[in-house]
Amino acid sequence: MTRRLAALFTLGLVALGAVPGLAHHSAAMFDEKKTVTVEGVVKEFQLTNPHSWLLVDVKDKSGKVVTWGFEAEGPSTLRRAGIKPSDFTPGTKLKITGNPMKDGRPAAIWVTAVRADGREFNPRAGFAVK
């Protein structure tokens, strides 16, 4: 499955700037030097502490659906980033980019998401003090 997923999605080597990692656990299981971008529809938005998960159903060429999980900070940090539960209701179409798991499982740190209406959402903006 790992190889198939790797073939399905675009992997880019992108060096990230200095931003806070995930606050409750290390991000050692993710490859923060790589990004993965997928397109799909929201299955569920789990707004929970200490981390939220945006679950996205992604269809491959054969029509098989794989659910990806994108991890971000908890509800209040997302709120500071302007991300609300109503922004990602089930069925919302989006293109989402994250730092993938090193072991190839379909999960990533959510870096940025762009909805079909063009609006972009960056969870890490929630750490800004303004």
Partner: protein
């Protein structure tokens, strides 16, 4: 009769003809009375402890052998401290957070490329070097991954919502993360007697007010790490803090850490928390249940790093989960 008064009387007459309910003839020669001056709100007594530079605070820490000695010296400087009332408490209201650019470093002024500004003892310097080297090869475990609270002094570094609630006899320093509240007693009580102390995540904090500054001494702490890729502290750690509001949107905290097993000399840092703008009143601190989502559950692998136990959304998940969820602590994991 002046032209102005004639006009006013004419207007009043028209008003009465129209049957207006609030029809009051103007007073002759009415001059606008000056508004009574609002009484000055009561203020806290002036602070006696001077605002020192960073270098002066570093030196002040070195002058005192223990955190308790420093605390007593500050209390002497403050003339024993001030008595505040509800009316003279400083206004620390609002929701704050630690600036993002400070990242996860205990010393916000850590220069780029420098491991730490702490003067560590050789053993703890080695532990830090190993920790950072491990991270570079992808090995990292954070003790709070078990959902334990960060504990003080690490408490100072977490990047979430905060509220600070001063009252004359007790101040609550609130960090949203795991509903973490430090209570600082300023009612004159002493610390728990040494024979009866137990290690606590946030320790035992007593303090006094010096005008609008809150001076705190904390002991009875647990061992921990200052942050990821930062040094360890031991159960001997004690801190002195001076909290004050430096402008309408900024809380500033001078922190001296004493920890003889790990620190060769006291470590002084200045922490800053910025007030968040919240025009639509959307920022609220909710209950933080760290274990509410199974997808956040992690374990420590045999090689000492972090791994997810498995995802609810991945039918192939679970293969990485340990046979026994409680992994053995890494050789350098602090006791918590």
């Amino acid at each position: 009769m002046t032209r102005r008064t004639r006009l006013a009387l004419a207007a009043a007459a028209l008003c009465c003809v129209a049957g207006a309910a609030a029809c009051t003839p103007p007073q002759q020669q009415a001059a606008p009375a000056p508004a009574p001056a609002a009484p000055e709100p009561p203020k806290a007594p002036a602070s006696k402890i001077p605002n020192r530079s960073k270098d002066q605070n570093v030196e002040l820490g070195r002058k005192h052998k223990t955190a308790w000695e420093l605390y007593q010296a500050l209390k002497l400087e403050a003339g024993g401290g001030s008595s505040l009332t509800p009316a003279t408490m400083p206004d620390w209201s609002g929701v704050y957070s630690r600036p993002a650019e400070k990242n996860f470093t205990f010393d916000p002024d850590l220069p780029a490329g420098v491991l730490t500004t702490a003067k560590l003892t050789p053993a703890y310097q080695k532990r830090l070097e190993k920790r950072v080297a491990d991270v570079k090869r992808g090995i990292e475990w954070d003790p709070i991954s078990t959902c334990a609270p960060p504990g003080h002094p690490r408490w100072l570094t977490e990047p979430f919502l905060r509220e600070f609630v001063p009252t004359p006899n007790q101040t609550w320093l609130i960090n949203e993360m795991v509903n973490d509240i430090r209570r600082v007693y300023t009612d004159g009580r002493e610390h728990t007697p040494e024979a009866d102390r137990i290690p606590l995540y946030d320790g035992d904090s007593i303090g006094f007010w010096d005008g609008d500054k809150l001076v705190i001494h904390t002991n009875a702490l647990m061992a921990g790490i200052y942050q990821r890729s930062n040094p360890d502290y031991t159960e001997k750690v004690e801190t002195v803090e001076i909290w004050r509001k430096t402008d309408p949107n900024t809380m500033s905290v001078d922190v001296w850490v004493y920890d003889p097993p790990a620190l060769a000399e006291p470590w002084y840092v200045r922490q800053v928390y910025g007030k968040l703008s919240d025009p639509d009143k959307a920022l609220r601190i909710g209950y933080w249940n760290c274990a509410e989502n199974q997808n956040n559950s992690v374990f420590q692998t045999p090689d000492g790093t972090t791994q997810f136990k498995g995802f609810t959304f991945d039918p192939n998940a679970g293969s990485a989960a340990p046979a026994t969820p409680a992994a053995a602590p890494a050789p350098d994991a602090p006791k918590q």
